[in-house]
């Protein structure tokens, strides 16, 4: 083209430019290209609206960016959504423009093309914008009645991530996720930003909950059963996330710590996510069974890749020998590269060749006709042929087959930097790191750094790692995932003689209790004979009565019998609230002593423990207190397998009170021990002196409702909860939590007497 031509402008184009009338030089640079594209896809009215709106964006005083993005992106958006989507979108932008959220317009426009591709329809787009609008209104700050003064901190972040978010979740899921963020971080700008830019942990956890696909956590038991049932092995599963690593997709692998699997699998080719997990596991177990590690040092990367492909095929063949139905599953998941998909003149095709070969080894109807591929498929099957002495072949044998394959099919172009990857990845296979051994650990001369690090890590490991429990949020009727961290530790030990003294002090009470206990001692199902009314006829007695009757004597009318079971099969968990308030002096009518509530609880628990030990029911004691949700402490005092001995008494003697009462998390934690008990009836007794509360929760209803939810959960698990409350004003909330399953003990002085009696009454 000549210079004259560049200067020339079509008159029509000039008219358009005038219609736009935008003075930014950057716009002038791209205008012609954008127009060309717009003209090819938009109608005449569409072009008009397009220019009109661009003109508005240009004049609205937000710099050049909005108009530039709009000019470039609109034609493609219009093709996916239709031109008629423009008014709604412009309306939405105008609303942002009028609010303090002008900064969010650019990210919105930037991601609009990508979001519209995800959403397809105008209705969905409208939902998305409604959602964003509500978001904007709720998070835009206002102080002292001056409305909408501060821009929403999370909105720009939200727009930036929206294509990714919509990729993971549906609009409904997105709504829940946004809702959660606004609710919990509405008044905390930095945290809100972290949440909506997917930086914070619970943001990811919430998103995970809303995701589509099969989650590993939901199916761990099934996979565990799968391994145990079909492969007679067990393994620890460690999930990794696919979502936050866009560039380098991690693939499954296993090492000493367990099998690493993606946290979620979508259904693919009619294969459910669960079956995909099973396929991965079958493949990995195949390696564990049949692969022996070989030295990698002498092989080139290509050779190693080929060996891996062949070895993968070998272990799968062996696994399919065990379970022929796996072939169907593998075939559905294995890519089927087209024979001529890769051009050996320009690209490195080794991967492509190997993927085809791997397909051919798996699928008898592969339909490839490359001579060498067929030859090696045959050689592979010969090697694996059953009937010979060595029917399983070996990693080394297969390695030599792979080497000769690489040698036979080598091409100059394999060295090219451009590698053909398309449709060659077998995503249910692991990364084969276990297959290789290395003579040399590293090329570095200094190797001792590694050792030092390991020592450091070991020192840091103290106490048990925390367990995370969800918490119920009554405002939204949802769970906050992994909200409370519970640290469990052994209770420190004190002097066991102290407890023995307490028991001696209550010797008279103990004697009375013992009599009650004797009545409760386990007995079997017993038959009650000589009943006038009963569940069935006692034939022997009936006959006797009949004989009496026939011989003229008065017959005994008590000819029925019934049964009653009095076998005891109860597991008990006593959960003690060890919060600060226990240190207060016990007050009550006729109060003369100056004992604290803690001391009285100690006496009561000692007596109860003694009583339950006499009965022989499985029994555990745990204490809890909390210092914010990040530090809920569960103190182990007595476990089910521990006897009522000095060790336990010592822990009980050292009981101390501090911090707050996060009851729900402690109950959930205690329940997971109680649940593991094999007993017909499971009873959790909670001894507390006040309502659930914690320093990080302003709304006291929240923790009360959470405790109530925990009671419901326990109920579903077959655990009966019962609360013994020492707070005289407890009626206000304790019924909300425990329904009718509670007792308030007003006269705390009588607690040592009442607690065992309560227990006996409950379990009679």
């Amino acid at each position: 083209m000549t210079e004259a031509n560049t200067a020339y402008e079509h008159p029509l184009m000039k008219a358009y430019r005038e219609q736009l009338s935008c003075g930014f030089p950057q716009v002038a640079e791209v205008f012609e290209d954008c127009m060309a594209e717009a003209l090819s896809v938009l109608s005449k009215e569409g072009i008009n609206a397009y220019l009109e709106y661009a003109r508005f964006l240009c004049k609205m005083g937000r710099g050049v960016e909005p108009v530039l993005i709009f000019l470039e992106e609109w034609p493609s958006i219009a093709t996916t959504l239709g031109e008629s989507a423009l008014p709604a979108i412009s309306d939405f932008i105008r609303k942002m423009w009028k609010s303090p959220n002008g900064r969010a317009i650019v990210p919105f426009l930037q991601t609009l093309a990508a979001t519209s591709r995800r959403l397809h329809s105008q209705e969905q787009m409208q939902d998305y914008m409604d959602l964003a609008l509500a978001f904007m209104e709720r998070t835009t700050g206002s102080i002292h009645g001056i409305h909408t003064t501060f821009a929403s901190p999370g909105l720009p972040e939200f727009f930036k991530h929206s294509p990714y978010l919509l990729n993971q979740v549906s609009i409904a899921g997105l709504k829940n996720w946004v809702e959660y963020g606004i609710r919990n971080y509405g008044d905390h700008p930095e945290r809100q930003q972290d949440y909506f830019s997917l930086q914070s942990a619970d943001s990811r956890a919430m998103l995970q909950k809303e995701r589509h696909g099969t989650l590993l956590v939901d199916n761990e038991r099934k996979l565990d059963l799968y391994l145990r049932g079909l492969w007679q092995t067990d393994a620890h599963f460690v999930p990794y996330s696919l979502k936050f690593d866009e560039l380098r997709k991690p693939i499954p692998y296993y090492d000493k710590l367990g099998i690493r699997l993606p946290d979620v699998y979508d259904d693919v080719n009619d294969v459910s996510g669960l079956d995909r997990y099973r396929a991965v596991l079958a493949h990995i177990i195949g390696h564990q069974r049949w692969t022996t590690a070989i030295f990698a040092d002498n092989y080139s990367p290509f050779q190693r890749m080929a060996i891996e492909f062949f070895e993968d095929a070998r272990v799968e063949a062996l696994a399919m020998r065990e379970y022929p139905g796996l072939r169907r599953l593998f075939i559905k998941l294995h890519p089927k590269p087209l024979e001529n998909a890769c051009d050996p003149e320009t690209t490195s095709c080794l991967r492509h060749r190997l993927a085809m070969l791997s397909r051919a080894l798996l699928d008898p109807q592969h339909g490839y006709c490359d001579a060498q591929l067929l030859d090696f498929t045959q050689r592979f099957h010969d090697l694996m042929a059953p009937g010979g002495s060595n029917t399983e072949s070996s990693t080394e044998e297969i390695a030599s087959l792979a080497l000769s394959y690489v040698a036979k099919t080598r091409r100059q172009s394999d060295q090219f930097a451009r590698v053909h990857f398309g449709n060659t990845e077998v995503d249910y296979r692991d990364d084969n790191r276990h297959m290789w051994r290395f003579h040399e650990q590293s090329d570095d001369e200094e190797m001792f750094d590694d050792h030092r690090k390991i020592v450091l890590e070991e020192e840091e490991l103290q106490g048990l790692p925390p367990r995370h429990y969800p918490e119920w949020d009554c405002n939204s009727q949802t769970y906050r995932p992994d909200w409370a961290s519970v640290y469990e530790a052994l209770h420190p030990k004190g002097n066991p003689a102290h407890i023995d003294q307490l028991l001696i002090k209550h010797a008279a009470l103990a004697k009375r209790l013992k009599r009650m206990l004797d009545l409760l001692k386990p007995q079997d199902k017993v038959r009650i004979r000589y009943q006038e009314e009963g569940s069935e006829l006692d034939l022997d007695v009936a006959l006797r009565s009949l004989i009496d009757y026939k011989s003229g004597a008065t017959p005994d009318p008590r000819i029925n019998m019934s049964h009653k079971t009095s076998g005891r099969d109860i597991a008990v968990m006593l959960l003690l609230d060890l919060s600060e308030s226990l240190n207060e002096k016990a007050s009550g009518p006729g109060d003369t002593s100056d004992q604290t509530i803690l001391q009285l609880s100690q006496e009561a628990v000692s007596l109860l423990a003694w009583a339950v030990d006499k009965l022989g029911d499985p029994f555990a004691i745990g204490g809890f207190h909390s210092n914010t949700r990040h530090d809920v402490r569960y103190l182990h005092i007595k476990g089910y397998s521990e006897r009522w001995d000095d060790e336990v008494k010592g822990r009980l003697a050292a009981m101390q009170a501090a911090y707050s009462t996060r009851m729900g998390a402690a109950m959930r934690h205690a329940a997971h021990y109680l649940q593991a008990q094999k007993a017909d009836k499971k009873l959790m007794l909670i001894l507390t002196d006040g309502e659930p509360s914690d320093v990080d929760t302003k709304d006291e209803r929240l923790l009360i409702e959470d405790a109530r939810q925990a009671v419901k959960e326990l109920d579903q698990k077959g655990i009966y909860t019962y609360c013994i409350n020492l707070d005289p004003k407890a009626d206000e909330y304790v019924a909300d939590i425990f329904g009718k399953q509670y007792t308030v003990i007003d006269n705390i002085q009588r607690l040592p007497e009442r607690l065992p009696q309560l227990f006996i009454a409950l379990t009679k």
């Binding site: 799968y226 049932g229 079909l230 199902k525 004989i547």
Partner: protein, 268 residues
């Protein structure tokens, strides 16, 4: 006198020995020692007793024990007639009189006070006192007592008293190994070995899950059921689901895993 022949086993039952149990049982019978057979459900305990009764040519009286069974149900009782009462022998008494093998199946199901009545029959006395009738029965020289139970119930309440246990010689049965079990399923139903082998494989899958949500694995008896259904023309996978999986579990996860095991075992 009771008709002895009705208790005779006429046709040879199919029984595949797993070890030396046949010879050992014969030796116990020669000495008339009481025998106890332990093992999981459906592993062939009852079949074994039936087979031995046929082999020794003795009548066999089987009693299925249950919770409601009283001592009178075993020993006998007076019953009413138009003009008075009449004594009716219970199965244990009958066996002792006619010289049969008395087989008490699932003895732990019976109440503990009931099981005590067998004590005098199981030691050197070999007698059965009928206190209500005022009679002491000397056991017939051919009489032998056999009991079976399934220790898998794991309930502390359902166990035999030591005083009962220590009156018996015992066999411990388990499911046969894969090859033997394949043979058993094939022979019992007339299916081919490949199919039987596949069924056995599914059965073993379930047995691996014992204690992880399953109280008992899939028994040989259920495998035979499945093979029978398949032989009757039912599609193998449906037959397996119906005969092997649905009966043994209500746990959705386990059902899923076993269904997958079936799919993995039967290639199209």
């Amino acid at each position: 006198m009771t008709d002895k022949d009705q208790y005779k086993i006429r046709k040879e039952p199919f029984y595949q020995a797993q070890g030396k149990e046949v010879a050992l049982y014969e030796a116990a019978y020669v000495a008339r020692l009481p025998v106890m057979i332990k093992g999981p459900t459906g592993c062939g305990k009852s079949r074994f007793v039936e087979y031995m009764a046929w082999r020794l040519g003795k009548p066999l009286i089987t009693v299925a024990c249950n919770e409601d069974m009283t001592a009178s149900d075993l020993v006998g009782r007076y019953i009413l007639e138009a003009n008075g009462t009449r004594w009716l022998d219970g199965p244990l008494t009958t066996a002792a009189r006619i010289g049969a093998i008395c087989y008490l199946d699932e003895i732990v199901e019976a109440r503990q006070d009931t099981t005590v009545v067998i004590h005098p029959l199981t030691d050197h006395r070999r007698t059965l006192p009928l206190d209500k009738k005022g009679e002491l029965i000397e056991a017939h020289p051919d009489f032998q007592l056999v009991i079976s139970y399934n220790p898998g119930y794991q309930s502390l309440l359902k166990d035999l008293k030591q005083s009962t246990k220590q009156r018996f010689t015992a066999f411990e049965f388990d499911y046969p190994d894969a090859q033997l079990e394949t043979g058993i399923v094939a022979k019992e139903t007339g299916t081919d070995e490949t199919l039987a082998g596949k069924l056995v494989k599914i059965g073993r899958t379930a047995r691996n899950l014992k204690g992880h949500g399953l109280d008992e694995g899939i028994s040989t008896r259920l495998l035979v059921y499945a093979a029978t259904l398949i032989k009757g023309g039912v599609e193998p996978r449906d037959a397996c689901r119906m005969a092997l999986v649905r009966p043994i579990t209500d746990d959705a996860d386990i059902r899923d895993t076993l269904d997958h095991a079936i799919d993995a075992t039967f290639a199209v």
